[in-house]
Amino acid sequence: MASQHIVSSFDHDLEALQARVVKMGGLVETAIRNALTALETRDLRLGQAVRDGDRVIDRMDEEIKSDAALVLARRAPAAGDLRTVLAVMTMATHLERCGDYAKNIAKRTTVLAETAQSADILSALRRMARAVEEMLSDALDAYIQRDLDKAEAVRARDLDVDQMYTALFRALLTHMMEDPRSITPAMHLHFIAKNIERMGDHATSIAEQTIYVITGEMPDDDRPKGDRTALENDDSGPP
């Protein structure tokens, strides 16, 4: 919003709130990247660092919520300001969930580090995580720049992530059918894939909050969905 509030401390409050959610987003992106690196390089210390780091992300979520509550109480924001505060609170919740997923991936790294994993699966996970990380980063950029096209683009990209997940799901299923000893690690890898896919959904929700802030309306739920595993009735369906 170009023009400024007559009460300049209101501008400051809103800027501080938004800066904090962007910083939180940065921490979550790093957590996703590090969790995947820890998985690939079987780096247990890095995995532990991701798990410890989630506490910081959780605390930022709490701080954003309490700061937002103060802005609501003090300023009684309306219109675009109200949407901004509501969106920041919702975005913090989505980022906090992403942090939890990254932490969960790091946890599974401990079990998976005991044996070598298929390079194909690992690189597919890496690609998927990279895509989600970029979605998150672009969703937050779109928010800060109030860029409607960019937010819409992030929303559209969730389809790619869903398709990557479906492909990975099939690949893991094949591994498990071929070699029952791979079931335990494959299940862990599947949960990791699912976690990344869920993070994509959260990034999409953040983009949708951006659309809400800009237009005042939530976008229709008509974007294409790529994860069809739950709809299929054949043997390849999920457990």
């Binding site: 919003m1 023009s3 400024q4 509030h5 007559i6 009460v7 209101f10 009684a76 924001p77 309306a78 219109a79 675009g80 300001d81 109200l82 949407r83 005042g216 309306e217």
Partner: protein
Amino acid sequence: MYDLKKPEHDVDQAKTKISARGVQVFYGDTQAIKDVNVEIADKTVTSFIGPSGCGKSTFLRCINRMNDTIDICRVEGEITIDGHDIYAPDVDPVQLRAKVGMVFQKPNPFPKSIYDNVAYGPRIHGMTRNKAELDEVVETALRGAGLWNEVKDRLDTPGTGLSGGQQQRLCIARAVATQPEVLLMDEPCSALDPIATALIEDLIDDLKQQFSVVIVTHSMQQAARISQKTAFFHLGNLVEYGDTDTIFTNPRDERTENYITGRTG
């Protein structure tokens, strides 16, 4: 659970009470209102918001021809209530004001007893035949204004002896005693503390069951709390008019957004 959307739903059913078409108001050579067109619904609270000097009070005062009392003021265009032109030559402004009551910013009870304050309107309009009927009208009006229990044992004491909030409710009782169809309120709570304000707001919510309430307020929160429709005035123009929930969450016009969010335009 209460349905928060319900008041808005009810508004859609309400029929138009006041209709303004091409209203322009001039104070001498200065134009205070520029071509205002608006339909105000019956049994609804409509709030007029906007910065000082935007014309909202001037427009409010057109609805009961209070501007007639200002010599240099000229009103053009058409304002109808239930389809009748209130500026038609055969309309008696005094009768009109009995039907379109008004409450002002500063409580202004007459220097008379509480009873006489409320009985004044019904008396001059000859609405009652005897003392018993008048007593009943006074009690109903005071109950309607939520003041009865506080004053029933001292009806003969001066109205000016009440607290500010009580005086304002007395003025509301005085306005509703003539059984109006429209109640105009010009910043009725700006001189009141939060408790007295809450009482008046609660009262306004009840009053809208009976008639159309139009309120000018500088408190954005008050407009958002009590009204179902909001009109934003700026420099004599009616910039935006619509459902209160839309105006306060997603206004269409940038001037409205700047005003309600406290920005310099």
